[in-house]
């Protein structure tokens, strides 16, 4: 009885082992799309060359999953049989729908990436690109214009054309091309301007990935020109406090009434210059003077705000110079520096609160900073005084020591003489 049971166990084990090893022993199905195209030349071979780093290929999708047909058939006609869903190469304006087939299907996309958005096609159709595409424009951007084709990389991959630091160049590949854009009657200097602006310099020169690229303001799939009234909201994505202050200021109603873009009116759009105190008040570089006449109440407020900020800056500068002197003298000034840092924070805050356009508010914040700077200045002055005291003290001590040494020396001489 025991022997029979033993045989049974051995047989079951062998069957289980065979079943488990079956898949690895079976010949892998050949993908004849790849097999055939890799023997070809030029553009027919290119998809095979690029597919190795393609995000779809990495997730196990093959040519037939997008283009249809039967990849298991070696025979040309069988593989490209329209009855088996073969689409072939879609026309340019069909591409959004071609990609959207899967990318608009949440159930399908969840199998690969549960977090991916599936509204790209809908957004695209609402965008300027999508609208022109729907009208049959064969030049307008479609999915592959930005994402590439076959060698598509994820957007977090620094080699991807839509990676944040590469994205502006991708947009510029069409939008900066005068010849390509000649039919659209829109400017082609955006990239040139952006790259010289504060945002472009931060992203492209410093590699600051927190800085905005084109799509940060214009959207990506739903790319469009922000309307004048919406410009403030676009900037507010990052500059939220400034936007809130502006929204509560008298400027808000005036801008709305006159249809003037909020932030852009003073700061520009693509070539947003680094802000400076010269933009405030009067004098060269002033943006206030563009709209407000001398003697008017806003003009006086602008002058007053500038004076508050300049006074604070002056006090900080004086104190910094004294702190540096004290440091050079070897006096510990970390506490003094703390007050100076706080004064600098007040300076930053007062510059932001300029967007309230209230001279009282800016003066109040500047006053806090001036008080802190004066506190720091007082400490720095004491530190320098301490050094001078040390020097005097040193002179006295050295004098006493040398006097003692001289007395001793004379004592020795006198002693040795006698």
């Amino acid at each position: 009885m025991k022997k029979v049971q033993m045989h049974k166990k051995v047989s079951i084990s062998i069957l289980v082992l065979l079943a488990l090893s079956a898949p690895c022993c079976m010949a892998q199905e050949k993908d004849y799309c790849v097999e055939c195209h890799k023997t070809l030349d030029g553009s027919a071979k290119e998809p095979v060359d690029k597919i190795s780093h393609d995000v779809h290929s990495k997730r196990g999708l093959s040519c037939a999953d997008c283009h249809g047909g039967d990849r298991t058939k070696e025979d040309f006609d069988e593989a490209k049989d329209p009855a088996k869903g073969f689409i072939g190469r879609p026309k340019r304006n069909e591409i959004p729908g071609f990609c959207g087939k899967c990318h608009s299907d949440p159930a399908y996309m969840r199998r690969y990436n549960p977090n991916i958005q599936t509204d790209q096609l809908a957004k695209y159709m609402e965008s300027q690109h999508g609208k022109l595409n729907a009208q049959g424009d064969q030049k307008v951007a479609v999915c592959i214009s930005c994402h590439d084709v076959h060698g598509i990389r994820e957007k977090a991959d620094p080699r991807a054309p839509i990676f944040i630091t590469n994205a502006p160049m991708r947009c510029a590949s069409c939008h900066a091309d005068k010849e390509y854009m000649k039919d659209y009657s829109i400017p082609t200097d955006q990239m040139e301007e952006y790259s010289h602006g504060v945002h472009g310099e931060a992203l492209l020169k410093k590699g600051d990935r927190g800085a905005p690229a084109c799509h940060s303001c214009h959207g990506s799939h739903d790319a469009a020109l922000p309307r004048a009234i919406a410009v403030g909201n676009v900037c507010a994505q990052c500059h939220s406090l400034t936007r809130d202050l502006f929204a509560k200021s008298p400027h808000k109603a005036a801008h709305d009434r006159m249809g003037i873009p909020e932030c852009e009116a003073c700061h520009g759009n693509h070539k947003i210059a680094r802000t400076s105190d010269e933009m405030l008040g009067t004098g060269p570089g002033s943006v206030c003077e563009k709209c407000h006449k001398e003697g008017s109440s806003p003009y006086i407020a602008a002058t007053s705000m500038k004076t508050s900020i300049e006074t604070l800056k002056g006090d900080i500068k004086d104190t910094e110079s004294m702190v540096k002197d004290a440091e050079r003298m070897g006096i510990e000034v970390s506490e003094t520096k703390y007050f100076l840092d706080e004064a600098n924070n007040s300076l930053t805050k007062s510059r932001t609160y300029v967007h309230t356009f209230s001279k009282e508010t800016v003066a109040g914040i500047a006053k806090e900073g001036i008080d802190l700077a004066l506190k720091a200045k007082d400490k720095a002055r004491k530190a320098i005084g301490e050094f001078n005291f040390r020097r005097k003290w040193l002179a006295a001590v050295i004098g006493i020591i040398l006097l003692l040494a001289a007395v001793l020396y004379l004592k020795i001489r006198n002693m040795e003489k006698t």
Partner: protein, 361 residues
């Protein structure tokens, strides 16, 4: 009246402890006078700076907190809040460096004057032992402010200790109190700095001074054979001269401490990468630089291990010098030793120069 009282107290003490015998010894003791006389002051200068170290060290102990979390803040507190704390700390740091310097000069002067000749072999042995203790005090004290420079220099220094053959790993772990420089390191460095090494220093210094007093100052070979010997009374003539020199050193120390206060630097961040160009204290630099130039492999041996072994052998050779220089024992001068001494000084200066101003690897 006062004189009478002093005399009474003196007599009272003398009856019990025979002080007159001791003062009699000092009044009879003489110091040879010759053209190299000036070098006799170096030992006294080192002793004076050691006394300054002990005095300022005790004052610092009132406020210093030997933990990784509080050390830097406590030193900052000393320099900013404690009355004259800045001066005490600055004097302690300057005096430490001057003490190492004067100890080296004292060693080389006694070396070239061949003061280690019989019967003063053990004076030399205790003296060279004191030099190592002084360097140990410098090494352990350097970490205590827990600033960036000292933290990483100690990291490099203890790493070098790890290259000692056989016991290197243990030595490094014992020094650090673990795998890394941490709270355990600062507490043990503190214990070494304020207890173990000072006790060792005072004991050895006591022996060294007793030997010097008992055997008197060594006369250099050049004047030992002079038919007419000039001498000076130790007490009070030489001692008063010593006092003048000490006062001048004190004045110099005050100028340095006040005009160039010792910086505290940035607080150490154990998680930060080692800053570029980190160096140990200047008196270790020549060894540090030498190890940089030794190839990684010499035949089948590890270059760094050979370097460490070389320094160890040099240290042993230094201590045993009175027994190696058999010519000096016969009151003769062998130029090989003088050339070796000059070469060592030039080598140490050149390597230190390279460490500061040479190409930074």
């Amino acid at each position: 009246m006062t004189e009478l009282l002093i005399k009474k107290i003196y007599n009272w003490v003398d009856e019990r402890y025979q002080v007159t015998d001791l003062t009699g010894f000092f009044t009879k003791k003489t110091v040879p006078v010759h053209k190299h006389f000036v070098w006799y002051y170096l030992g006294g200068i080192t002793l004076f700076l050691f006394i300054v170290q002990v005095a300022t060290g005790i004052l610092l102990l009132f406020y210093y907190k030997p933990t990784a979390a509080e050390a830097y803040e406590s030193v900052k507190f000393i320099t900013t809040k404690v009355e004259f704390g800045w001066l005490v700390r600055s004097v302690h740091s300057w005096s430490a460096n001057l003490m190492v310097f004067s100890a080296f000069v004292h060693l080389f002067s006694t070396f070239f004057l061949k003061a280690y000749r019989p019967p003063r072999e053990l004076t030399w042995v205790t003296g060279s032992g004191l030099l190592f203790i002084v360097m140990g005090l410098g090494f352990t004290g350097y970490l205590l402010p827990w600033n960036e420079l000292s933290f990483f220099a100690t990291k490099v220094g203890t790493q070098m200790a790890g290259a000692v053959p056989v016991a290197g790993e243990y030595l490094r772990t014992i020094l650090r109190g673990g795998d890394e420089i941490s709270d355990a390191t600062i507490t043990r460095f503190f214990a070494l700095h304020v207890m173990v090494l000072p006790i060792a220093a005072v004991s050895l210094l006591g022996l060294h001074l007793i030997m010097v007093q008992f055997q008197g100052m060594s006369e250099p070979l050049s004047s030992a054979k002079d038919p007419v010997k000039k001498t000076m009374k130790f007490f009070p003539n030489f001692l008063l001269r010593d006092l003048v020199v000490w006062l001048l050193i004190l004045a110099g120390l005050m100028v340095l401490s006040i005009m160039f206060p010792w910086e505290l630097g940035k607080k150490a961040d154990p998680f930060a990468p080692t800053p570029f160009g980190i160096k140990p204290e200047w008196y270790f630099l020549w060894m540090f630089q030498t190890l940089k130039y030794i190839p990684a492999k010499i035949f089948m041996f590890d270059g760094e291990v050979l370097g460490i072994l070389g320094f160890g052998a040099a240290g042993v050779g230094l201590v045993l010098l009175p027994f190696i220089d058999i010519w000096a024992r016969r009151e003769k001068r062998n130029p090989v030793f003088s050339i070796l001494g000059v070469f060592t000084i030039i080598y140490m200066l050149f390597m230190t120069y390279l460490a500061y101003f040479g190409p930074q690897k």
